[in-house]
Amino acid sequence: MKKLGKAVLFCLILTLLLALFNKILMPDTQFRADTKELGSEVDYIFLGTSNVFYCVNPVIIWNEKGYTGYDLSLEQAPLIVSFYQLKEELKKVRTKTVFLDCAAFEYNYGIPSMNQLALDKMPFSRDKLKLIHELGEDDADHHVAAEQTYNKISYLIPLYSFHERWKEIFEGTLKSRYHGKYEHTFAGYVANKDHYVFKKDYRWLPTMEEFGGVYETTITPVNREWFEKIRNLCEAKGVELVLIKTPSKGWLVEMSNSLKAFAKEEGVEYLEMNDENVITALSLDEQNDFCDTSSHFNIYGTEKISRYLAAYMEKKASYTDQRIQGTGINAYWNQLYETYLDYKNSDTE
C-alpha cells in the first residue's frame, strides 16, 4: 500500500507539473470577450468568422445606444464550433439576440488551430468531448499540412500542440501568441488601423461570372444540420436568431440569394449588409475603411458598420439602453470605450 501511495503521489505531482506547463505554454486567448466582466445578461452575442471580429465593435454599439454584448467569432469558425460555443455560453449568460455570421456557411469543419482556440476556452465538459468527437481527424478541411499538429489529443490536451512554445520563454513572446494585430481587442472585436486601398471600384454583390471562379453557393448538409441545432438551441432558450452577412467584397449575389432563401425557409431573420441600400447607408470608403482585400475592416470602417448595427438593434423592442438604467456595468463599458478612444487617437498601429 505504501508503494501504491507513492505511485499515486508521483502521478499526482507529474500531472500538476504538466498542467502547469500546459497553462504556461497555452496561447493567451484573452482577446476573446471577457464574459466575467460583462455580467450574466447581455443584449447580443455575435458568432461566426473573422468577418465579424474585424467589423463589429461592441464598444461603439455601447456608446451609440447603450446595448451590451460581445463577439465570440474565430477565424473560419464553422457552425459546428459556433453551436458548442453558444451552448457553453448560454449556460452562464442570458442574451436577447444571437447574430450568426453567414460567412460560416462557407466552411464545414474550419481550421483546426482556430477550433483549438474555441476548445481551449471551453471548460472540460461532456459538450467539449462531443465537439472534439464531432470535429474528428479525417474531415476534408483538416488536410492542411501546417495544421497536422492538431488532432483529438491536442484538442483535449493543448500541450500536445503547444509544447514547442518552450522556445518562446527565451524569446520573450510567450505571454501572448496574438501580439501585433490581435493586441487591441474590445469585447471580442479585434481593432486595427491597417489600410488597404482598392485600386478599382469593385462592385458590391457581384455575380459569380463577374467575380470569376467557381464557388459553392448551396448550403451543405453539414451546415444545414448544425444550423438547425443552433436554431433549436436559441428557440429553447428564448433567444432570437439573426443571420447576418457583414459587408464583403467577396460575397456573391448567388450566395446572398441562397442564404436569403434558406433564412426564409427556416423562418429566421436575415440581415444582408451587402444590399445596395445598406451599403449606401454605410457610406464605406474604399480608400480608408478596409484593412485587407477580404471582408475585414479597420477601426474606421468598423465604426460605420457598428453604428448601423446599433441602429438596427434599436428597432428591436426588447433592447433597452443600459446607460439610462445606470447598472453596475456602466463603469466597465465606459472604461472600455475610453481605452478604445486612447487606442484610436494614439500612434499605435
Binding site: 505511485a7 506547463f21 518552450w166
Partner: protein, 506 residues
C-alpha cells in the same frame, strides 16, 4: 495507432489493468485479444491475412512433429514468402490486385502497401516451425497460442524477433502484479520515448539538412562524413528507442523480451557489431540461415571436396564465406526489394568476408606483437575502425536512391571544402539555423545526446533503473520528472511522420 502516440499509452494502460485483474491462467487470452485488437486498430484490412499466416505456420509445425521431409520445409518457406511478397508489394502489382483479393474483405492495396509487422511475423513463424522440425521444441496443439505468439502486440510492429520457446511459456505462465516490474517497464518506455522524440527527431532534421533529402545538398567535404555519422545515430536512436518502448511495454506485463541492442558503437569488429546491433535478427539469420547451410549435407560434401584441394582451413573459409553470402542475401531481401538494401547487405557481407580472409595474417601479426592486442590504444583503434565501417552500412540502409546516395558520398572527395556551419540565410525566414536546427533545438540535441552517452555508459556497468531505485526518493523523482518533462516539452511530435519509426516499414 502507433507506438509513439497517446492512444497507445491509453491502450497499454487498459490492457495492463485487465491483464492483472484476470487470473494468471487466463492472462494469455487477454494478451491475444489485446494483440488482435491492436492489429485490428492499426491494419484491420490485414487481419484475415494474418490469420491465414498463422494457420500455415500452425499446420506445418504440427506436420513437422512426425514428418521431417525437407521438401515440406521448402514448401512452407515458399508459401510464407509468397504471401509476404504479395502483401508487401501489393502496390507493385497495381490496382488489379485489389480486385483479385477482394474476397479478403476490406483489402485496399493503395492504403496498406506495407502490412503491419508482416516481415517480423514471417521470421517468428518460420523460426517456430524450424525449431519443431529440428526437434528443439514440440509443436503447439493450441492454434490460439501460436497466434498469440505471432501477434504479441508490443513486438508486433518492429520486433524484437521472438522465439516461441522463450515467449510462449511466459505468456502461458502469466504473472502476478509486481510494483517493481511496472515501474521498470514504465521507465524503460520513457527512455525509449526520450530517445525517439527528443534525439532521433532532431537527428532526422539534421540528416535532412545535411543530405538535402538526397536531392542535392549544399553541404560537402567533411559534412558528408558528419552526415554519415548522423544517419547512423538517427537509425540507432529511432530503432533502439522503439525497442525500449516495446521491451518496456512487455516488461510492464511481466514478460521479458530479448534485447535488440547492446552498445553497438563499442563493438571491436564487425561480427561483434552484429551481435550488438539488431541482435535478434542477427541471431535468427545465424540459427536458421547460416547454420541451416553449414550443417546441410551439401555444405559438408563441399567441405570434404574442398579440403583435398585447398586444405582444411581454406575449405572452412570458403564454406563460411558462402554462408555469410547467404545470410546477407536474406538480410537484404528481408528489408525489401530495393537496390540500397541489397548494396548495404553486400557491403556488410564484404566487411565480414574480408575479416574471414585476413584472419590468419592478423593472428600472425598479433603473435608477433602480443602486447599490442591488450593495449587500450589498440582497443580504441578497433572500436573506431568498427564504428567507421558500421556507419556506412547504416547510411546505405537509409538512402532512398542509390545514385543520389553515392553522388552525395562522392562529394566528400569532389568538393572537399567544408562550408556552411551556420546557415545565415535562414535569418530571413526567422532565425539562424545550425545544421537545419534553430539554436534552441541545436542545444537540446547536444545536451540530450550527452545525456544519452552518460546514461548508456552508466547502464553498461549496472542497470540504470537499479541505480535509480537505490537512490533517495527526492533525487530519484527529480530525475524522473525531468526526463518526462523534457520528453513532453522537447519531443518533436504532434503530427507528420516524425513519430513513425523507420523499421516499422519492414
Amino acid at each position: 495507432m502507433g507506438l509513439v502516440s497517446v492512444w497507445f499509452l491509453i491502450f497499454m494502460a487498459a490492457v495492463t489493468l485487465v491483464y492483472y485483474l484476470v487470473p494468471q491462467k487466463g492472462q494469455w487470452i487477454v494478451l491475444l485479444l489485446a494483440s488482435l485488437s491492436f492489429y485490428g486498430l492499426c491494419a484491420k484490412g490485414f487481419l484475415v491475412c494474418l490469420l491465414l499466416f498463422a494457420v500455415i505456420v500452425y499446420l506445418f509445425a504440427k506436420r513437422f512433429e512426425t514428418d521431417k521431409k525437407p521438401l515440406l520445409v521448402l514448401l512452407e518457406i515458399i508459401l510464407l514468402i509468397a504471401l509476404v511478397i504479395v502483401l508487401k508489394y501489393a502496390g507493385w502489382f497495381g490496382s488489379g490486385l485489389e480486385g483479385a483479393l477482394g474476397w479478403l474483405g476490406s483489402f485496399h492495396a493503395a492504403k496498406y502497401i506495407v502490412p503491419l509487422g508482416i516481415s517480423y511475423i514471417m521470421l517468428m513463424g518460420l523460426g517456430y516451425s524450424l525449431d519443431v522440425y529440428r526437434g528443439t521444441i514440440h509443436a503447439e496443439g493450441n492454434f490460439l497460442k501460436v497466434l498469440g505468439f505471432l501477434v504479441f502486440f508490443p513486438a508486433l510492429t518492429q520486433g524484437p524477433i521472438n522465439r516461441f520457446a522463450d515467449l510462449v511459456p511466459q505468456m502461458e505462465q502469466g504473472n502476478r502484479f509486481r510494483y517493481e516490474t511496472l515501474v521498470f517497464g514504465v521507465q524503460r518506455m520513457l527512455w525509449g520515448f526520450f530517445k525517439k522524440l527528443v534525439i532521433a527527431g532532431r537527428l532526422g532534421l539534421v540528416m535532412t539538412e545535411l543530405t538535402g533529402g538526397w536531392k542535392g545538398s549544399a553541404y560537402s567535404g567533411i559534412y558528408v562524413f558528419l552526415a554519415v555519422i548522423v544517419c547512423s545515430f538517427y537509425l540507432f536512436m529511432d530503432f533502439s528507442g522503439c525497442m525500449d518502448i516495446v521491451i518496456g511495454a512487455a516488461e510492464i506485463l511481466g514478460i521479458k523480451l530479448p534485447e535488440n541492442f547492446d552498445h553497438p558503437y563499442l563493438a571491436e569488429n564487425m561480427p561483434q557489431f552484429w551481435r550488438k546491433w539488431h541482435i535478434t535478427l542477427g541471431a535468427w539469420l545465424r540459427d536458421y540461415v547460416l547454420y541451416s547451410f553449414t550443417m546441410s549435407g551439401a555444405a559438408k560434401k563441399m567441405n570434404r571436396s574442398l579440403r583435398e584441394k585447398i586444405g582444411r582451413r581454406g575449405a572452412s573459409s570458403v564454406i563460411s564465406i558462402i554462408g555469410v553470402l547467404f545470410v546477407w542475401l536474406v538480410f537484404g531481401l528481408w528489408h525489401g526489394i530495393a537496390a540500397n538494401f541489397l548494396i548495404a547487405a553486400a557491403y556488410y557481407a564484404l566487411t565480414i568476408i574480408v575479416g574471414i580472409l585476413i584472419e590468419a595474417p592478423v593472428k600472425k601479426f598479433h603473435a608477433r606483437f602480443p602486447r599490442l592486442n591488450g593495449s587500450i590504444g589498440f582497443q580504441i583503434f578497433r572500436v573506431v575502425r568498427t564504428f567507421v565501417l558500421s556507419i556506412q552500412g547504416a547510411y546505405l540502409m537509409l538512402i532512398p536512391n542509390v545514385k543520389s546516395g553515392f553522388a552525395y558520398l562522392l562529394s566528400f572527395f569532389t568538393h572537399p571544402t567544408a562550408q556552411l556551419v551556420i546557415k545565415t540565410e535562414g535569418e530571413l525566414a526567422g532565425g539562424i539555423r545550425i545544421l537545419g536546427l534553430d539554436p534552441y533545438d541545436f542545444v537540446v540535441l547536444i545536451l540530450s545526446f550527452v545525456f544519452w552517452v552518460v546514461v548508456s555508459l552508466l547502464h553498461r556497468k549496472k542497470d540504470v533503473r537499479l541505480r535509480l531505485s537505490g537512490m533517495h526518493i527526492v533525487p530519484r523523482w527529480v530525475i524522473l520528472f525531468a526526463v518526462v518533462i523534457a520528453t513532453v516539452l522537447f519531443g518533436l511530435y504532434g503530427g507528420g511522420d516524425l513519430a513513425s519509426f523507420i523499421y516499422q516499414g519492414f
